[in-house]
Amino acid sequence: MDTIIGIGLDALAYGMLLFIISIGLSVMMGLMRVINLAHGAFAMVGGYIASYAIRQLGLPYVVAVPTAVAATVVVALPLEFLLFRRIYGGAEPLKQVLMTIGIAFAVIGIVNAVFGPTIKPIPLPGPLHGIVDIASHTMAVHRLVLIVAGLVIAAGLWLAVEKSNFGVRLRAAVDNPDMAAALGIRTDRLYLVTFGIAVALAAFGGIAGAELMPIEPTYALRYMVTFLVVVSVGGAGSTTGALVASLIIGLVDTAGRYLFPSYGMFFTYAAVILIVELAPNGLARRSA
């Protein structure tokens, strides 16, 4: 029993981390129809800035995290109107892949030169540092924080997309961008805001998940495949789809590692193949 709870909680924490980082990628793919291979790089940049803010500038954790998220968005936004804007629309996938992976490589080179190749820790504040016992299972507090943060972000996004004015315009643009623009929706501004939110969530995930996915220069590409798998399983542009996909992958991956450690990622990919076979457009694809 202890073991089942243990695996369940670890899977939940890991799944939530995947969700926090991947949801931005999913929304960009659903709305702007762009495959952003630099998404992992944005998560990594958030981690680097947070680490620098805490260790070199001495900012407290609660200040450093929002600062780092904001700083990452500030750094990334010029890329939106200088570069990303030109590749929206999904017409030229090769151009998208080349440009965004180029950005990822450039970011890897820059952080390597500026911060060096060592792992940069993000020291947790006292309360997040310890371990707690839940139903006789030992669990790190920061993993519980990941679970809570994931739930809050999922709820917030659901409300924003389904219930707000912004959400209405967003859904309209996802369903038919040309018609939305013709009806007077400022799609370019909508894209800019969405891009900013996607980057902010990636940066937050990079910071909050640094205990599971340590911040070092190859981070940008190391976990990119997993993020893309979440999007393809969940269906581009869907909050619920991404959440369910993250949790399934988190669970299959964690349970598979526990039960059959030597099989590596076998069970994860087997599950992905099965789901994509049954639902080729992902679990919940918005646009037809």
Binding site: G6, D10, P121, P261, S262
Partner: protein, 392 residues
Amino acid sequence: MLQKLMRIGAAAATLVLIAGASAGADTIKVGIIGPLSGPFALGGKNFKAGVEAYVAVHGDTVAGNKVEFVYRDLDGPDPGKAKSVAQDLIIKEKVQYLGGVYLTPSAFAIAPMLEEANVPLVIFNAATSSITQKSPLIVRTSFTLWQTAVPLAKQVAKDGVKKLIITVTDYGPGNDAEAAFRKTFEAAGGKVVETIKMPLSAADFSPFLQRVKDSDAEAVFAFLPSGASTVGFAKAYVESGLKEKGIKLLATGDVTEESGLQAVGDAAIGIRTTYHYSLVHDSALNRDFVAAATKAIGNADELSFPAVAAYDGVHVIYKMIEATAGKQDAKTAVQSVSGLAWESPRGPVKIDPVTRSLTQTIYLREVAKENGRLVNKEIASYPDQPDWGLVK
């Protein structure tokens, strides 16, 4: 017509002058191959720091010859690129010696061309035992996994641990570490209850440690390649409650390698490892080495074990230049250092004439905090350990 002839004559004269200049100088070129970029860039940086530290302390002139180091980047385990980089150094740069090599596949790729090129290779890192058997012109100044794992297994058995679980990363060196530890531990009467082979790509290590927790093992032996995975593993070990439960983590020094250790944080305190070198090894020679190498690398947090192997590697190359009086004679050069013993910053070392790897002291260390930094504090030593992978 006359003008054209004069121009050709002038060009020819210039060529002769250039050729004469390069033939007359006593500069001996040493090619250093290492990962200067990419995921292993830290290793390459440490190679460079070790070389520069040695030159800073001992100068760049040996037996009247000036030594010049030429660096080439080899960013990953790419045998094809390793071969072309080595060829480029041998043919275009005309190096007399090769040094460096971080990963095993690169060493295997370079080995076959050494004899024809008449160039010795001094390995600064790549730790698979069989490398030195691939060419009689290979000497190694690092360590092997067998060398560090065997004394640990003996110590653990001596400490009374009967049941143990092994967790290693599922690739070449991980299998080496597993075989070395298992063989020694079982020979000493211990029982390995389970071996968990973790995929290289694993990010979250808690499921593996949950499995350790559910077994009835008294301790866990681990090997992972240093970097993101060792930090993740050490953290997950503490967070899984295994440390509180009294299940000891034992590992080779890769897991508490200094540049990653600070990222693990205080949770690492108490982890015991065996390794050939600790940055805080207590000797005047080591303090001088660390000072020189820190100056060369520029950031104390980045200094790590490959630097000491590079430092000793340059020592071996200097000795070979002395023995051959600067002439290119790879066979004599290697013979001259076979059996060579000297005092390294890590302690006494000797090139084993049979394996051409180092016979050296392996230390048992415990992670402790000194002056606000996490260090590997040496608490016991096992002198004269050969490469147990080749010496039976």
